[in-house]
Symmetry: D2
Subunit: 345 residues, 4 copies
């Protein structure tokens, strides 16, 4: 069994990593740390795990983690993450970091939107963990920067079409909608039940830090610097992310050619499901799963493609993709631990 | 007291008309018809009205309605509406029709998206009831086609800016999100609680019949035929509509110039509230009210304006605007019956 | 116009008092204080009030309040409330206190469940503000202890039946369910959207501090000390309280006799609506209103009565009843400011 | 692999059986019938299953089912079920029936609450499938009547305490709350999103047909005919059932003795989790799982025990328990296919 350490296991993303690793046929949760809940049983923090994952959360100690773990997942706030990653890296551990700290190739881009980076030398080592599009580099990586939820939902539909020359990357508008769990378990008025239920709003318009992350990947695919318009919204639901993308068509691609470009690219990718024009994505259909559902509509009057993707922001948008990265890094079956049958409702 | 008839008073929009008319200081509900619930007390259909509106729903009878009513609201499905409107019109009643049947100036546009029109001679008489932008013509109208909810949410932010030459109408993309009550009270899997809660999806992409309605009004404002991209989505909430509009700037309008254009246009319009860039709209803030909140962000890198509007789809998007139209048609205070203090939550 | 001061106006109950007073035909909001938001416009705290109640929240200052107000509503935590009430009382202001501090006749009962009381001499002056059952004493009161939400929902159905000798008060079980807004606007994991949605649970079982409040009133009605079993639960909804009460019948009261006892008692009480056996209460029907809906079922096999009440916990369970108390204290129409037409949904 | 047929696989309970059987290590879905969706792929009815369970729903045909299945699950309405069960029984198939038709030992009890029974001779063959309490008889059964969701939630906490003599069965009051999925996928106003959200109500008070089912099992345990008071309520959530039970203590059982009686009884029962007094059940903690969480509080002033249970109404309350029954009937591991790790949220 692969021995797994989860650092920051009592936030929502961390707890999802615990869930998946605990049910994974080839891994075990060897260490689970939490600043806030050290000494408390995980199942007292999340009582759904009672009788299932009862081990105690521990105080973070790098030596203790390294001793008992082969792979380390970091579900920490950015900045905190980059302070602990180098130690694991140096000691040869495989590291999957769920923060933004190791998602960027370009130091300046990171630093202009986040803060000074304390381990810039690792940015070259780190691989961007969008599994379906960066498979080869992940296979050889020791350190993966696990993508943000919004970037995952935007890049999976777009990258194949940009590479195929089907769309003009300089015309991208992404209108994204996320469930509340994306804001984490920390307390704020924004996540107070009475402020969210029966509410719908945009937030951080033109200012969300996932924008530069998307732009870096889109620029790499396009071969030139790309800027996009990105607007995140909050859905009154706990899980789920649906992103509607508007982009101008290039080269007169037809509906069928769009479909083929996506289908060819994702052939063999179990977790990307194409509904085509007939069945559009719904967050319900991916709830609790690692699937990314993609559909599209071609607005022929305007020469514009409307792409729609749905993911569970905590699974394909965070913990599920993190485990998928681990599987790839270790040469395990890519879907191991992630094959749970979806719920009908 | 103005004597009001409400035809089709037991759907959601009709029941909202009943609510507002019953609380209006200068009107009374003189007749309330319902095909399905004729003979039943309104408060047995909607028990919240118990002790408040206990009168019986009646079978529709044009003579009976005309005898006891000065103003008639029609909250019927399209097609049904156009069959009864002519009789009220001929007998000199003021008519506010909440269906799509009298919203179009152009017969062919209506007929190509709906069906053959049985009263085309009334299209010239009918006035489009978007109160803030069509005030003068509504004052003189006998028949008003009350706007659809999506068109209201799209046109209120855009029309002043198109008229000011601030934006390029040929670049409009409207990404709209509506609460479930927009689908009405009829039964369908789409509105089954278990299929909606914790769900978010787009529907009728590129095919929603509110698109031609918007395009007609936008074309009139632009002075040439305008096509837009419109994508409606379903929010897991009962009321509320938030629309995010993307449009290219023209003539280098600045943030301040945009604000001024909107503020000038809506000066004196009680129901349009501008939050500017500081406070973006949220459906919660307009819940149960006739307000339309508008905010915006200028994406300077792309020369693109992001406009956001929030309305209650059943109030400013249907029944509230209908009553506002009645007030204007009758020369009453425009806000009469619509001044209810909003809820904090 | 009656000049009203609202102390603690930015919690949920306080903001509801603002809403009702702002729409009341005979009152005005003369002063609105908030520890947290002093200096901020009320409409910046609750943007739904934008253009409606834009006045600034002020720092609490007893002299300033007394100078501009005839009536003072206190929407403060208990303990804080009893420290400020005496000053208003001494200066002759009418006071409605929404905390628990002045709800008890018996000092020891209060002190054994809350804390030492700093103004015990006022307990005799204070009147329990359950409007329908304590009308006469409220008319003559200068200080009203506004009832808790749970006690309102339990006492309104029970008191008339206890007084009529229809039920045995020693057998009362109250199984109550409350919306999340009852927990207030303060932040806690308990009110985090993701922890509440799709959740249902009991809390503070056998330990809720509304129990002694109910027991005091039930004991007064019964003429002997009464103990009850009370279990509160949390509904995944923002507003609404439904309480199911089980109590043994006395004296072979029939279904009709039960109905008559309730109907006689509440004759002329606008805000209590009896649905009888045919229509059972639903929190939706009272949402945003000051109504208390009561229904019942007689389990003849067990000689047991099942009483069900529904209120909006923030209105009849807090702010609405507080204003109703003010109306009664000032000799205004009891329903003034509280006649808003309910919503159909 | 055990070959499984699911008759009526496109209702909510049936679809949950499909989900569990599809993920079960020792079974396969060999036949899936649906009156409404025959000829349609299961994943077109429930798109979450796309790429997971794509087989077509078939028209019901007893021969076809018998040919390819060893075990048959019936997720049909009562009455329909009893018409098809005898054929499967005669042909030697193992049958788990999720309707009420084979839950009763006493024909008259069934017939007085449902209708005339067309296969009364099978009532003696049928075993009541409450797994933890009827284990031995299920092991030898060919036909199991799978318990109702409410009975499961009421009986699991009570039966051990009745058998231990800890409580007086003649004093039971069960106040139950169920998610909307309990009403099934059929359309009705009761399940319309806008009628459910922000709503809470009781329904079928004193008249729910799960009452006689509970009373039969309670009577068997008590050794005499028992009547209870049962009140079901509707939670604005899709899944989850929480039941609060009030019952008088017998024989001065202490808190510890209560705990011990439950713990002894459920020793070795993986799916029953005792939280004791410290941690009370919450439907979130059992969502999507086969667990039944039980907690309790002893109201010493009244000599009354408050028992609280939480289940997922579609899993332990329907499909999960059905599969657990199959496991027991076939001598498989009782937990096989049901060990999915719970979600933290």
């Amino acid at each position: 069994m692969v021995r797994v350490g989860i650092i920051g296991g009592t936030g929502y993303a961390g707890a999802e990593v615990v869930r998946i690793i605990a049910g994974h046929p080839e891994t075990e949760v060897s260490m689970l740390t939490s600043r806030k809940y050290a000494g408390t049983r995980f199942s007292d923090v999340f009582p759904s795990f009672s009788g299932v994952v009862d081990q105690a959360c521990e105080k973070y100690d790098v030596d203790a983690v390294c001793e008992c773990c082969d792979v380390v997942f970091l579900a920490l706030p950015h900045k905190v993450s980059m302070e602990v990653v180098p130690e694991f890296f140096t000691r040869g551990k495989k590291v999957i970091d769920l923060s933004a700290d190791f998602r960027f190739n370009t130091l300046s881009r990171y630093e202009s939107h986040y803060q000074a980076h304390s381990a810039p030398e690792l940015l070259d080592e780190a691989v961007y963990g969008l599994c379906e599009t960066h498979l080869t580099s992940i296979q050889n990586a020791q350190l993966v920067g696990n993508p943000g939820c919004y970037p995952t939902s935007v890049l999976l539909p777009l990258l194949p079409l940009i590479k195929a020359g089907a769309v003009d990357p300089d015309t991208i508008i992404a209108d994204a909608k996320s469930g509340v769990s994306g804001a984490g378990r920390a307390l704020s008025l924004t996540t107070h039940f009475c402020e969210v239920t029966e509410s719908f709003k945009a937030y951080k318009v033109g200012a969300h830090r996932h924008t530069p992350e998307m732009e870096e990947q889109l620029s790499l695919a396009a071969g030139h610097e790309v800027h996009i318009t990105f607007t995140p919204h909050l859905i009154p639901a706990s899980r789920g992310m649906l992103t509607t993308i508007y982009v101008d068509l290039s080269n007169n691609f037809s509906r069928q050619a769009i479909y083929d470009a996506l289908a060819d690219f994702y052939q063999g990718s179990y977790f990307v499901r194409l509904g085509g024009a007939q069945r559009l994505p719904d967050t319900r259909n991916v709830r609790g799963t690692n699937f990314c559902d993609i559909g599209f509509h071609l607005d022929e009057r305007k020469g514009r493609l409307i792409l729609i993707s749905a993911i569970d922001n905590l699974v394909k948008g965070a913990a599920g993709q993190a485990v998928q990265n681990m599987n790839i890094m270790l040469g395990l079956e890519e879907t191991a631990g992630l094959m749970q049958i979806p719920y009908p409702l």
